[in-house]
Symmetry: C2
Subunit: 202 residues, 2 copies
């Protein structure tokens, strides 16, 4: 997952797009509460009036950011799963159907600008005072479960299995966030966890 977009947000697209791109960069990299609208509009190269013409409030922008991030991340995740799955042999697909999850996650967590899951972070930062963050995050995670389930033979328990795997994924994400040592051991543990789930489900 390439976390950076630029190089020059102020030279491309409409004002609304520049604001949203800049918000994505700053909210993800430094946090939502830590990013004031003053700094945001300065970096986006717009004025306050323009900003408030496009977004009624900062909360409005946060909502748009989360939806934007959801689309961006989910499409990357699905693509990465498909890519790693396409590299598996037929027997691997049967014996280790969840291995692509581990490989996709390794890509993301090792990205130097990885800063955790934007949705988990948003819930921690503002879930208490901005309930929309909770519902958007819940449906984001649900879609992640669906993407994982698509790797599994569509048996009766594929969703339940994917839900268990998703817990491991979220655990690995938050663990990786505490440092690169944690990241390596989290990826290792995730591999073990996914293998165990796949073996147990046979």
């Amino acid at each position: 997952m390439p976390e950076t977009i630029e190089p020059c947000p102020r030279c491309s697209g409409s004002a609304r797009e520049r604001i949203l791109q800049t918000a994505h960069d700053l909210f993800y990299r430094e946090g939502i509460r830590a990013t004031g609208v003053d700094r945001l509009i300065a970096q986006a190269g717009v004025t306050k009036v323009t900003f408030y013409r496009h977004f009624a409030s900062k909360n409005d922008l946060i909502r748009a950011f989360l939806i934007f991030r959801h689309e961006r991340w989910t499409s990357w995740f699905k693509e990465a799963l498909a890519r790693h799955r396409s590299r598996q042999s037929a027997s691997e697909r049967q014996s280790a159907p969840l291995a692509p999850v581990r490989h996709a996650l390794a890509e993301w967590l090792q990205d130097p600008s990885f800063r955790g899951c934007a949705f988990i972070n948003a819930v921690a930062e503002i879930g208490g005072v901005f309930p929309d963050a909770l519902s958007i995050s819940a449906s984001h995670k649900e879609e992640m479960v669906v993407a994982i389930a698509s790797l599994l033979p569509s048996g009766g328990n594929s969703m339940a299995l994917a839900r268990a795997a998703a817990l491991g994924v979220d655990g690995a994400i938050v663990r990786a966030q505490t440092g690169s040592d944690s990241m390596r051991s989290a990826l290792e543990a995730l591999g073990e966890l996914l293998a165990s789930l796949a073996a147990h489900s046979q």
Copy 2:
């Protein structure tokens, strides 16, 4: 895990203790960034001078809060694991050694004042600008792994197994934070995950 402490923080203990207790309540319930020192000292019933005599800065208080929380949570967790383990039969202890983890977590997540893991939240909120939060959280999570490993026969891979189980625990925590529906399905998925890990390790 009973999240509330009070009832009357201003009537008991030294000023430092009252500040720390109040910080624990507010930081956990409403978030670290959302809690200003003004409100904190008002609720603790002390003055600003007293506050800054005991803590050089807000960051100093955050550090103390994390250490306090670590001790509180970890001792509860170990106690809960031991309690649920003591209710298992000998054969259950062999076939489902990680079941106490699920039961302990169910207790905590269902507490009405559950607001996620204070360490995951702290990393999301301030990990970028206050690196101590990262290292304290990393060692907190490491101690959680040790507590989980203590349930397992001390074989060669008990730590690796506990690390995998801990990923599921962290995943369940962040999932439960998005709402009570998520909480129920997270607990269910966690149970499956832990059972699968235990079965696979035999």
